[in-house]
Symmetry: C2
Subunit: 151 residues, 2 copies
DNA sequence: TCAGTATACGACCAATTATGTCCGTGTTCA
DNA sequence: TGAACACGGACATAATTGGTCGTATACTGA
C-alpha cells in the first residue's frame, strides 16, 4: 500500500535521534527505544542491520551503543530504507532484471519503473540531517528541491 | 516496503487495456483477466471497486462488461491506486488527522509527509493514457514533468 | 578477574495484510 | 427461459510484518 514499514520508520527515527545528539559518543538501543516508546529488542535488530550496512558504528560494553558512521548530511533516507527493507520496487513483478515471468504482458511495468526512480530520487535527496533540522520555527527558509519525472 | 499491491497493478493493467480499445463498447472481467493471465474473479472485484469509485461504467447481462467512465487522459494513476488500496501514507502512523497516539515523539512524520505529497503528485501526473501510449519506439518525444519537493 | 552492560544473531510466534476462491443474487439480452 | 454477465459477502490461504526469547559474544571498569 505504498507505505514504509514500522522498522524503516523506527530506523529513521533512531538515526534522527542520533543526529540530534552529535556530542554523545554513543547511545544504546535501549536509550533510543525508551525515548520513543518502541520495543527495545526490535530496535536493536534494526540498528544492527544499519550497522552491517555501514550506516552506524556499534560499540559493545558499558557506555557502548550506536553512533552514526557518517555525517548526518551524508546519510539519505533512501539508504536507510534500503538497508532495512531491502530493495523496493513499486511494481510487484520484480524477479531479476527482466521481470514478469508469467505474464509477458505486464506492459505497465516500464512506465511505473520511471515513477519508482522518481520516488527513489526524492528519498535520496533527503538526508538524516534534513530530518533532524526540521525542528524549526515556521518562518525558516525551506529548501525546495526539484525532481524530474520523464514518462 | 513501498510497493503497489497486485490489486493496484491489476487495476492499472485493466484500465490500460480498456484505454487501448476505445472502440469496444465493453469488456468483461473475464476477457481482461484472460488477456493478462490473472485470476478473473479477483479482477472482477477490483473492477467493481473502480466502478463504485466512478472510474468505470459497468453493464450487466450478456455482452456486458466494463468501460472507462471518463477519458483515459483524465484518469490518473493516483485515482486508481486510491480507489483500490485506499488512502496511502508513507508513514505508518496515520490515525486520524493528527497521528501517533502513543508516541508524542514521531517527529519524523512531518518531513515524510512532504515526501508523501510529492509521490502523490507524481502519481497524479500520470494518466491511464500515458500508460497506454507508452508502446512507442524509443525515439518518441518523452514528456518531462517537474515535481517540486520542499522539506 | 569478575560482574555488569551492551551488541549480535538465530529461532520462533503472533498479528496483520494480501491474495485468491466460492457461492448465491440480480440483471440483461437473445 | 437460459446463458452470460455484474455484484457482493464470506471464507480460505499465503505472505509479510511486528515482536519476543534465548543464547552467545564483546567490552568496560572496579
Amino acid at each position: 500500500m505504498l507505505k514504509l514499514t514500522k522498522k524503516a520508520d523506527y530506523g529513521l527515527m533512531a538515526l534522527k535521534y542520533l543526529a540530534e545528539r552529535p556530542e554523545t559518543a554513543a547511545l544504546s538501543a535501549k536509550d533510543i527505544a525508551d525515548a520513543y516508546g518502541i520495543p527495545a529488542q526490535l530496535l536493536a535488530k534494526i540498528l544492527q542491520q544499519l550497522t552491517r550496512k555501514g550506516l552506524l558504528k556499534s560499540h559493545a560494553g558499558m557506555n557502548g551503543g550506536y553512533a552514526l558512521a557518517k555525517s548526518a548530511g551524508s546519510i539519505s533516507a533512501y539508504e536507510v530504507i534500503l538497508a532495512i527493507d531491502g530493495p523496493f520496487f513499486i511494481t510487484s513483478c520484480t524477479k531479476g532484471a527482466n521481470g514478469c515471468e508469467l505474464t509477458p504482458s505486464c506492459t505497465i511495468k516500464e512506465p511505473l519503473a520511471r515513477v519508482n526512480e522518481t520516488i527513489a530520487g526524492v528519498l535520496k535527496s533527503i538526508s538524516i540531517q534534513d530530518l533532524a533540522e526540521h525542528e524549526h520555527q515556521p518562518g525558516h527558509a525551506p529548501e525546495p528541491k526539484l525532481v524530474t519525472l520523464t514518462i
